[in-house]
């Protein structure tokens, strides 16, 4: 987020207060997706593709209103549709799927390439394709199935939370395009507050299972479930039925896969130790036995 130096103080010919004036402070950023007011219009899908300058990709009919089965390397924002019959009648759930911008990002943890993935202090996790080596470890590291590999460029891509827009003091393109106000953008603290307010209203209106999906948050709003080991996310959801996130195609307990954690954690350390031990053994061997004498054949080849 901009540090406030470009905060608007006054606007010519504009009645009332300048939007956003006097609210600048240091904060992390967060998207709030209120699925209870999402109408699945796909404006966010289009805004994302257009802002990021990607071309039309061919899609096929798959017995659903959903544009494609999963996000793609050049389609980072996808509304997932789910038809469900419950005791209270038919439900048609729509949820905007995109990178969750985890506080402890599995992709970043898994990535071996220096500078291919960066995490900003405001919470945005961004890919820098110039440094990407195409190993796709990040794909394995993500509990939300977000990074996607482009076989042509041999690079991996995903939602940037519009780091370019946010850096200039703008909201992400998806937020900007949302017609119903189901998408909100602000500090994580504010978004949790907004989410709680909406959940309270939903519960008061008989949606007893309404809740916030805010996985791994070390400081969740009281009474809010926060499963997982990802340290919190910079995208949170309001769900009508927070007890069953899987109905929205959300993992109930997202966590960075164990082998990724092992490989960048203990395994790396053990590996390092192993390598050190090998070197130490080599040195010991040298000290103890000295250099290996050349045998006849070797001598002969050298002479040639």
């Amino acid at each position: 987020m901009s540090n406030g130096t470009l905060e608007i103080k006054a606007i010519s010919g504009h009645s009332g207060k300048a939007p956003g004036s006097g609210v600048s402070r240091d904060y992390d950023v967060c998207k709030l997706v209120d699925t209870t007011t999402c109408i699945g219009c796909k404006a966010c899908e289009v805004a994302c593709v257009e802002w990021n300058g990607y071309e039309f990709r061919e899609t096929t009919f798959a017995n659903t209103y959903q544009t494609m089965p999963e996000t793609a390397w050049n389609f980072w924002n996808l509304i997932k549709f789910n038809e469900m019959e419950t005791d209270s009648g038919m439900q048609w759930l729509m949820r905007k799927d995109q990178c969750m911008h985890c506080e402890e990002p599995g992709c970043l943890i898994a990535c071996p390439a220096d500078g291919a993935i960066v995490q900003y202090s405001n919470g945005i996790v961004d890919f820098n394709q110039a440094n990407c080596i195409g190993c796709q470890y990040c794909v394995s590291g993500c509990p939300f199935n977000i990074p996607k590999f482009n076989a042509a460029t041999k690079k991996v891509y995903k939602c940037t939370l519009c780091s370019d827009r946010v850096g200039a003091g703008l909201e992400p393109a998806c937020i900007k395009s949302c017609p119903t106000g189901c998408l909100h953008f602000g500090s994580k603290e504010d978004m949790k507050f907004e989410a709680k307010k909406r959940v309270d209203q939903l519960i008061a209106n008989g949606h007893n299972d309404a809740g916030i999906y805010n996985p791994g948050d070390p400081d969740p709003t009281p009474g809010v479930s926060s499963p997982g080991s990802i340290g919190g996310t910079h995208v949170i959801y309001v769900l009508n039925d927070a007890k069953h996130p899987e109905n929205y195609a959300l993992p109930a307990d997202p966590s960075v896969p164990l082998f990724v954690k092992l490989w960048k954690g203990p395994l790396k350390w053990i590996g390092g130790l192993g390598m050190l031990a090998g070197l130490a053994a080599l040195f010991g061997h040298y000290v103890r036995y000295g250099p290996k004498p050349l045998d006849e054949g070797d001598e002969g080849r050298r002479a040639q």
Partner: protein
């Protein structure tokens, strides 16, 4: 909309039916979301499918397409039976208390009184008020005397007893005597404030809808009776225990208009809203969502063949002169003697004279009836959409100018339209894409030999897209908002009005040249049309907009106005200044005030909303006279005080003796509430009409449920009169109608968020979101037909066939109708595809317009085709 988009945020209760705003109006839908989030407003959605709007609903009912009158009539019945209606409002602001003449019969057998079997239409003479003033207190005596609406038996008895009508003998050599003058409304209407008289409108309405019990509603609509009762209970809960504060709104769209009784569906909804006292109030109203960005503007500016701009009527042959025309079209007030009526249409002569001055300038003189004879007359013939295509198919209509109007795709019965174009001599299409109408000669199935036989000369004109033109859009909320061209027209494309201007100038040149030729019959209307634009070949839309607003042609004085004088040449500030003496000109009285001398109000962009009610009085301009909620006098009780003080729109100020408000009062400003002037100032009665007297509705003074022309069942109310008796099938060999034995599935058509009509199929981004045509069907039907999601299927109707993929869904359920266990399987098809667009020319591309399937049958009042609720069959292809 009587109200507006932003106003939806003020509501407590929403019924969305016959429309799918989350899908088709996602930006406006934000106000529905707002009402739910901020006011805890409830949302009931009734639709043939569980669609995007339904996904947001508190309660959803799946209705069979075309049975909306049954549902809404059931609501009226429920509200009356449970005493959940606005008594004071109904008694004083509607014609509920008015007594209807003896001899009026309700349609228990499917027919109102006055049906002429031979002509297939009604003589509405018995649909009228009785004269006689206040009869309150006579109800008991009338009931004791057996007074009440006529029945089939009593009418037969009366006819038998009456002497035969005198025969009119034609005298040779003399023209037949003119038909008797039309019967008008009585000046001193009889009324019963107790609403108990057996022939008062309220009792007749109660009787009419008493037949619409929850069981009957269920038999017709397929909605289980208990679910209907749940919906009715929730919707009418705003008037529980005499509450008058809460407000409910009804939001609809072409899901109501596109039926053979569409006008009556909307009327039933309006009646329900009047019964609940919701019209005129913030958060209330009856709100039509318009499907194109400027369809409201098109309608206001004479989009239909029988109206002139501002809803003035087109003359008919019987209008011998201006006086006769004005006598026919200017209503005189008809009301109880003790009540007052503004009767705003009494100003018709002023609106008309000013319109004619705008059209013909100095050539419109008092001596020539303001050039009245320049206007075409319409006779008995209809010139509606389907009638024009029918005439072309029969070879009677020789040419067509299709301007931004893809007639083949729009349908109905697209093949008939394609074949009609084959018979036309010429076709002019102005478009931004190659589309189905311009390329009808390359429609699927056409052979080289067929093509060789087509003699139609096709001209294609490169028009401009919406972002390439300035001008105003009039939105659903009646707001005129100026827009500025964003980009220039590409290539050789030209502005639409420049194209129209050059056609007109050429035609005028020809008339000028040949005006003395005896073959030139009547050049005056063409030669005398005003065309005083700075650039005649491409008029500036600023000049056109100012011309529509109108100006003073002489110095005007009116002491009642501020300021009391207006100089010749000045733009007029509002229609109160219009005159019938030729001293004002105005292209559309409703838009008078949009562009006064101070500059364009349509360009205002001040978002201030001092009242917080979403009125935004200085953003754009809304007709009439910047009123954001129409009939807002009805937001106050009889004393002129708001029903809900927390939503104060207008009120009567005792101190000044005038109406004031946050909104512009839609009322006579100095009418004291004691005078009992009705709030519905456009009706000669001054009150809202539960019962529409005389001729305005061709199919009955009350709504009645009639089956769609193609229906899976007989009308459970009266199986012998299943369809509307005044709806006619067309008669050419291309007008075929199916029955449920061959075509068992009721089908509806609709739009998707991802596409816009028939032109986004050219845009990769939209095509990416939804790439292919499909038919939505219930899982149960798919299982029965052994169809899986994604299978190619053939959908056929009596007209044609349509190929697409199957979308098998839980969101449409089989229906139980007529109380039987047998299931009826509704299906639905989005409209967006055709044989032109991306993928065009690919061998696997068999895309055709879905309107190949829809029938040529129209609503008898608005002439809108029945695109929803026709019969199809489905097979695996």
């Amino acid at each position: 909309m009587t109200n507006g988009w932003v106003d939806i945020k003020n509501t407590d209760m929403m019924l969305i039916m016959g429309g799918n705003p989350a899908e088709n109006h996602p930006c406006g839908f934000k106000w529905v979301v707002e009402a739910r989030k901020v006011r805890n407003a409830k949302l009931v959605v009734v639709d043939p499918r569980f669609q995007r709007t339904a996904s947001q609903a508190d309660l959803f009912c799946q209705i069979r397409a075309g049975t909306d009158v049954a549902f809404l009539g059931g609501l009226i019945n429920y509200a009356i039976q449970n005493n959940r209606y606005a008594k004071e409002y109904v008694t004083n602001y509607t014609n509920a208390a008015f007594i209807i003449k003896k001899g009026f019969k309700l349609p228990e057998d499917g027919l109102f009184s006055g049906y002429d079997t031979a002509a297939g239409k009604y003589n509405p003479a018995s649909w009228n008020y009785e004269e006689g003033g206040n009869v309150t207190g006579t109800a008991a005596a009338a009931i004791a005397a057996g007074d009440g609406p006529a029945t089939a038996e009593s009418i037969a008895a009366a006819n038998a007893a009456a002497p035969p009508p005198p025969k009119v003998v034609a005298v040779p050599g003399k023209p037949a005597p003119p038909p008797p003058p039309p019967v008008g409304l009585p000046p001193n209407t009889a009324y019963d404030l107790s609403l108990e008289h057996p022939r008062c409108v309220f009792q007749l309405m109660k009787k009419q809808f008493a037949r619409y019990t929850p069981d009957m509603v269920s038999k017709i609509t397929g909605i289980p009776a208990d679910r209907f009762v749940k919906a009715a209970d929730l919707l009418t809960s705003i008037r529980k225990d005499g509450d008058t504060k809460k407000v409910g709104t009804i939001i609809y769209s072409v899901g109501w208009t596109q039926h053979s009784n569409g006008s009556q569906m909307i009327r039933t909804a309006a009646m329900y809203q009047m019964l609940m006292g919701n019209i005129g109030r913030a958060g209330g109203g009856i709100n039509a969502l318009r499907g194109h960005s400027n369809i409201q503007g098109a309608t206001d500016m004479a989009g239909v063949f029988d109206i002139l701009p501002g809803y003035l009527k087109v003359p008919i042959p019987a209008d011998a002169d201006l006086a006769a025309y004005l006598k026919r079209t200017t209503p005189t007030s008809a009301k109880p003697k003790e009540w007052d009526s503004f009767n705003y249409w009494s100003n018709t002569p002023k609106f008309f004279a000013s319109f004619m001055k705008a059209m013909y300038g100095d050539a419109a003189k008092k001596e020539n009836d303001w050039a009245f004879n320049y206007l075409p007359r319409i006779g008995d013939k209809r010139f509606s959409w389907v009638d024009q295509w029918d005439a072309m198919y029969q070879g009677k209509l020789k040419g067509l100018i299709a301007f931004g109007m893809n007639g083949v795709s729009i349908g109905p019965n697209s093949q008939k339209n394609i074949d009609a174009l084959k018979k036309a001599e010429w076709l002019v299409v102005c478009e931004i894409y190659p589309e189905e109408t311009a390329e009808f000669w390359a429609s699927p199935g056409i052979t080289k030999e067929d093509q060789a036989k087509i003699q139609t000369e096709v001209y294609r004109l490169p028009g401009a897209g919406f972002a390439e033109k300035d001008g105003t859009f009039v939105n659903s909320a009646r707001w005129l908002q100026w827009k500025w061209a964003a980009v220039p027209t590409p290539g050789n494309a030209r502005l639409d009005h420049a194209i129209l201007a050059s056609i007109f100038l050429k035609v005028r040149e020809l008339y000028q040249k040949e005006k003395d030729d005896p073959k030139t019959k009547f050049p005056d209307p063409i030669l005398n049309l005003t065309w005083a634009y700075s650039n005649p070949a491409s008029p500036s839309l600023t000049e056109v907009a100012k011309e529509i607003n109108g100006k003073a042609l002489a110095d005007l004085k009116d002491e009642k106005q501020t300021p009391p004088e207006w100089k010749a040449g000045q733009q007029l500030p509002g229609f109160a200044w219009l005159r019938d003496d030729g001293t004002t000109s105005c292209g559309n009285w409703l838009y008078c005030g949009s562009w006064p001398d101070a500059g364009s109000n349509t360009q205002r962009r001040n978002p201030d909303d001092p009242s917080g009610l979403g009125i935004h009085p200085t953003w754009g301009w809304s007709w009439p006279m910047n009123r954001r909620v129409m009939y807002n006098r009805a937001s106050c009780n009889m004393e002129g005080k708001p029903w809900d003080p927390s939503r104060k729109q207008v009120w009567f100020n005792e101190a000044t003796g005038k109406w004031a408000g946050n909104d512009v009062p839609d009322f006579k400003p100095d009418s004291n509430p004691k005078d009992h002037m009705g709030p519905f100032i456009m009706n000669p009665e001054g009150v809202g009409r539960f019962f529409v007297p005389l001729a305005p509705m061709a199919d009955g003074p009350f709504p009645e449920h009639y089956e769609p022309i193609e229906s899976p069942i007989k009308n459970p109310l009266h199986p012998n009169q299943s369809n509307s008796p005044v709806v006619k099938k067309m008669k050419t060999d291309m007008d075929k109608y199916g029955t449920s034995d061959k075509f068992p599935y009721p089908c509806t058509t609709y739009r998707l968020t991802e596409h816009y009509h028939y032109w986004t199929k050219n845009n990769p981004m939209n095509v990416q979101l939804v790439p292919e045509p499909f038919v939505e069907m219930p899982e149960e039907l798919a299982a029965k037909l052994q169809i899986k999601g994604g299978d190619k299927v053939k959908v056929s109707s009596a007209r044609s066939t349509y190929y697409c993929k199957a979308m098998v869904t839980k969101r449409i359920k089989p229906l139980k109708l007529e109380g039987k266990d047998e299931l009826v399987y509704p299906v639905g098809i989005p409209i967006h595809w055709g044989y032109r667009g991306l993928g065009d020319g690919r061998p696997d591309n068999e895309r055709t317009p879905v309107n190949l399937l829809s029938p040529t049958v129209v609503d008898p009042n608005a002439f809108t085709p029945e695109f929803k609720g026709f019969l199809v069959n489905i097979e695996k292809a």
